[in-house]
């Protein structure tokens, strides 16, 4: 395992499913405090990459190092989450039978062991933190509403609140603006830039105008490897990227 100053370091990562290489010798570096957008056509390996980083999928070969010390290929989802990697799914997944407040309480960094939860009561600090997050995501009024009764947009907000509660060092965000209106897309870009002030973020997205609104370094994936890297203008000028996106 190489020691590195990068927050997330992928080197030569290969994942194959029945001979199909979802990731092919992929290398990627995310610096602390950075926000990175990852784009690529369908099947480029974006979601597989997130699965590898969060421990859902084990790579066949390659190195995945977090924070310069943790070998993510050896850890499971729960360990990796505890180390400080949060993940937001494309489809908002909140706990439908729990209130907004309980959703946040479950996400709140700290208690995870079952035997400690049996007797745990919310502490003053935790209640304070919950109130804080509820005001950030503007959901104080809905705090005792069940997750199932929230609108699509409210669920997205709640999920962002849950990520804030989890307080990870690195946030992986999968297609956050899928199915959103232009105004919502713009707001989400603002929220992500706000979050990026205190957290490192990796965003996977299809929507080019959203990526432009983020204004960050872009990595283009194609057939499981990195095709190009740079600003959005640089990569859009790249002949290979154009070919991949427009077809040969």
């Amino acid at each position: 395992m190489r020691s590195t100053s990068a927050l997330l370091y992928l080197s030569g990562v290969t994942v194959s499913f029945d001979g199909f290489k979802a990731l092919n010798n992929l290398s990627l570096l995310i610096e602390p405090g950075e926000m990175r957008a990852i784009i690529g056509p369908n099947g480029a390996g974006k979601t597989t990459m997130m699965d590898v980083v969060t421990g859902k999928t084990r790579p066949d070969s390659g190195e995945v190092v977090f924070d310069g010390r943790a070998d993510l290929t050896k850890l499971d989802e729960a360990n990796i989450a505890t180390l400080g990697i949060g993940r937001k799914f494309q489809k908002p997944t909140v706990f439908e039978n729990h209130t907004v407040r309980d959703n946040l309480l479950l996400a709140l960094a700290g208690l995870r062991k079952w035997h400690r939860l049996l007797l745990a009561q919310p502490t003053k600090d935790e209640n304070h933190r919950l109130t804080e997050i509820l005001s950030v995501i503007r959901m104080e009024e809905q705090q005792y509403m069940l997750g199932a009764r929230l609108s699509h947009g409210q669920k997205q907000w709640l999920e962002i609140g849950m990520l804030l509660a989890q307080d990870p060092k690195l946030l992986l965000v999968d297609e956050p603006v899928a199915g959103m209106t232009d105004v919502e897309t713009e707001t989400t870009a603002q929220v992500l830039r706000e979050i990026n002030k205190t957290h490192s973020v990796v965003v996977v997205e299809h929507d080019m105008s959203f990526v432009r609104a983020l204004g960050v370094k872009v990595t283009v994936l194609h057939e499981g490897s990195m095709l190009a890297e740079g600003t959005l203008d640089q990569v859009s000028a790249d002949q290979r990227v154009v070919e991949v996106y427009l077809g040969r």
């Binding site: 989802e77 039978n97 729990h98 309980d102 479950l106 062991k113 079952w114 049996l118 849950m162 989890q166």
Partner: protein, 372 residues
Amino acid sequence: MITRFLLQGMDRNLRLFVLLVLAIGIALPLLNQIMPPSSPFYVPAWLLQLIGKYLSFALLALAVDLVWGFCGILSLGHGAFFALGGYCMGMYLMRQIGSRGVYGNPLLPDFMVFLNYKELPWFWYGFDNFGFAMLMAILVPSLLAFALGWFAFRSRVTGVYLSIITQAMTFALMLAFFRNDMGLGGNNGMTDFKEILGFSVQADSTRAVLCFASAFTLALGLVVSAAIVGSRFGKALTAVRDAESRMRFLGYRVEGYKLFVFVFSAAMAGVAGALYVPQVGIINPSEFSPANSIEAVLWVAVGGRGTLIGPVIGAFIVNFGKTWLTGALPEFWLFALGALFIVVTLLLPKGVVGLWGQIKARSQAKKARAPA
């Protein structure tokens, strides 16, 4: 700390319900004991026995609901934990017979004499002690549940695959217990019990105490289950049921949660079995039959899955129906059971307990439409 833990899950409805269970458990035995048989308030011993049996079934249903309704683990093998608890009690009762058996052997139960056993098998030691036998009635099902759950939950076996494994487990145990050389009575099982703690199992006063004990244990089971479900652990548990992988990505080690509740539930089923056996007077391998476990799941579905009151009500309704129908129209019972399953699945997804909410929602919807 413990009191706060125990009280945190109790809402008003549940508190009333626990009191009702205790009231039944105290009133019926008392009416049996103090009323003369000629009084209209006299409760005959057969009724005590029947209610006591239902109460132990209700405890089993609660155990099934705790894993299925609150954690999403559909166990089709809880009958095995129930039967194991029952066998532990049966072994204790067998050893209490002593030299009063048909063959008069002071140490060996009748079936062992019949099968030419020369000495007591090692696993029968200690079962002459009531405390030890009750400890085993909790420990044996717990250990089996722990072993099964440890492997299944770590390998992330879920859903229908887990249900099939639990079903296979109870079927395998049934086949094993049917064998005579298991040393547990073979296909005849154990029966002809004489005494429990020195009191005759046939006596009305013993039946009264057993009925009360069943009600008390059920009430205790309800209080502890409510505490577990109402705690932060309970919130995490239902979250695991609803979105397991989400919980993993939040950093929860899901298998620990499942394992705890599975083992606790198995222990509860074991206790239910131990209460059941002295009241019905027999335990045999048919208690392991897969259909029994499926029936227990049906009680929960009828009463209302994911509520604590539901399984108790479901166990009473279905078993009352069974008692009545197997008496009145014996051939019809299995059809009725099948029909019940279809009706509940189609019309009552939240069981009898959820019916009230369904009716309320419908009348509200009607009101909302009416003024237009």
